[in-house]
């Protein structure tokens, strides 16, 4: 599941900047941490973040699905083909530094994906737009960010409609891998061409409704912010800076 899931969790109620700051801190923190234990603690923190949003199960499942192929690649590249010293597990000879590297890289990717899926699932695009509007962010930038957050659910919905239509016309989705790959054509082509054809109308419609206006937009229902949430955001920034300080201090040492 990728996209906003309505709910009433603390993350859903939080100011969108707080939720995005949490996801951003996971992203930046992932690159600041260098040891497997540190990185997997970050994964645990991202999971706690998802649990607080009530989306742990769906976000973790999607994060695992997205990360698994990368884990497999990392295992082969670093675990099997990495440098000495090595250890033997059953029939496999594994590189110890390679496995540590694979755990760090795999953990980083998992934490980042989980963090962003959670932010996507708990941040209402409408509240984000209102929050950015209230801060005076130009509509072009707001639209770019918010439409990026909503593009996947919209494409998924459209793909489902096209699939239903194509199945009515005799498209078979089952069978061999080759047959499934062949079914991608009748799905992908209308999906992409349809989206492109609608872009022109949407541009005109947005322009007609003043999206290109130079005036500062009026925020109708800006989400409430609080001193505590601002403090959380500052604390996250301090943590990220501290993590990078720690990383560079260790590198110099």
């Amino acid at each position: 599941m990728i996209g906003y899931v309505p709910g009433t969790s603390p993350l859903h109620r939080a100011h969108p900047y707080t939720t995005l700051a949490l996801a951003g801190a996971v992203l930046l923190g992932a690159f600041a941490l260098t040891r497997p234990l540190e990185v997997w603690l970050l994964v645990a923190a991202a999971a706690a973040f998802a649990a607080a949003g009530g989306v742990l199960r769906s976000s973790a499942r999607t994060a695992l699905l997205l990360s698994l192929p990368i884990w497999a690649l990392l295992f082969v590249l670093h675990g099997l083909l990495g440098a000495d010293p090595r250890t033997t597990v059953g029939p496999l000879s594994l590189s110890l530094p390679g496995m540590a590297r694979a755990l760090v890289l795999g953990g980083r990717i998992t934490a980042i994906v989980l963090g962003f899926l959670t932010a996507l699932a708990t941040t209402s695009p409408h509240r984000l737009v209102e929050a950015m509007t209230a801060r005076g962010v130009p509509f072009g930038r707001t639209f770019l960010l918010a439409s990026t957050l909503t593009v996947l659910p919209r494409m998924r919905e459209r793909a489902a409609q096209i699939l239903e239509a194509q199945q009515c016309r005799g498209l078979r989705l089952g069978g061999s891998v080759l047959a499934r790959l062949r079914a991608l054509g009748p799905l992908a082509l209308p999906l992409v061409l349809g989206a492109l054809a609608e872009v022109d109308e949407q541009v005109l419609a947005l322009d007609a409704r003043g999206a290109a206006s130079a005036a500062r937009r009026t925020a109708l229902d800006p989400p409430p912010d609080s001193r505590a949430q601002r403090l959380v955001r500052v604390a996250l920034l301090v943590l990220v800076v501290a993590a990078y300080g720690w990383k560079f201090w260790k590198m110099r040492g």
């Binding site: 919209r154 949407q202 419609a205 937009r217």
Partner: protein
């Protein structure tokens, strides 16, 4: 009466096109009228709308020749597919309709008042709290028209607005057009739906090959269509059928 839009021997060519989409078009549009523009697919009716409302070439690009004077302070536009005209950023119908006035930075209360007025005009107040993506096509198209009207445009252009609607929803949509015109706006509709167009038009224009073929009273222009001529030749009594389905229905009766 002062024309809100005046075109004097206007031509228009889309970017990259070898042939002009409009040639030698002269037309005036005044407040209080419902002008119906009809013609076969590709004849240039939709392009005429875009040129008359100023969206071509400003938004779509291309080359304009001849004289064009748009006295209207603001023009609204509605297309056939209502879902392409949603911002995708609003969680309620009210917010969707308020998007335009909010874009121009009006005070919050003025934005809400404008949205309420437009909802009243299109009789969609009962949908105010609904999520736009959950509405039927007919409801959504009325919301889209309300969203265009919330900006209080002096010219409202509708490009085949009932193409995706069922007959009841199409009737309901056409029924509100005379009231919109009566409120001092110019309404221009490009449509092949001649039966409904004849009910609301105060003037009609038929476009052929990018040129105005006939212009004048709706009865004279719309009833000069082939189905109408066929029915007359066959000795059918008036009112003459305006399109092929109506002709078939008349012959069956």
């Amino acid at each position: 009466m002062t024309a809100l839009v005046a075109l004097e021997r206007v031509g228009f060519t889309y970017p990259g096109a070898a042939r002009a989409a409009l040639s030698d078009v002269s037309l005036e549009l005044a407040a209080g009228e419902v002008l119906v523009v009809t013609g076969e697919t590709g004849a240039g009716a939709s392009t005429l709308l875009l040129v008359a409302t100023g969206f071509a070439p400003r938004v779509v690009g291309g080359r304009l020749t001849g004289g064009r004077h748009i006295a209207a302070r603001r023009c609204g536009v509605v297309f056939a597919r209502p879902w392409t005209q949603l911002t995708g950023l609003c969680s309620t119908v009210q917010d969707e309709i308020a998007f335009g006035p909010a874009s121009y930075g009006l005070p919050r209360q003025a934005v809400l008042d404008a949205a309420a007025r437009a909802m009243r005009e299109l009789r969609v107040e009962h949908l105010a709290g609904r999520e736009p993506s959950q509405l039927s096509g007919g409801e959504l198209q009325r919301v889209v028209v309300a969203a265009a009207l919330a900006l209080d445009p002096e010219v409202l252009a509708l490009d085949d607005p009932a193409a995706e609607l069922d007959p009841e929803a199409a009737d309901a949509l056409y029924d509100v057009l005379p009231a919109i015109a009566a409120s001092g706006k110019a309404v221009v509709v490009a449509t092949p739906d001649l039966e409904r167009a004849a009910r609301v038009a105060t003037r009609a224009v038929k476009v052929e090959g990018g040129r105005i073929a006939t212009s004048g009273a709706p009865a004279a222009v719309l009833e000069g269509t082939e189905p109408s001529l066929l029915a007359r030749a066959a000795g059918c009594p008036p009112p003459w059928p305006l399109d092929v389905p109506a002709l078939v229905g008349r012959v069956r009766r």
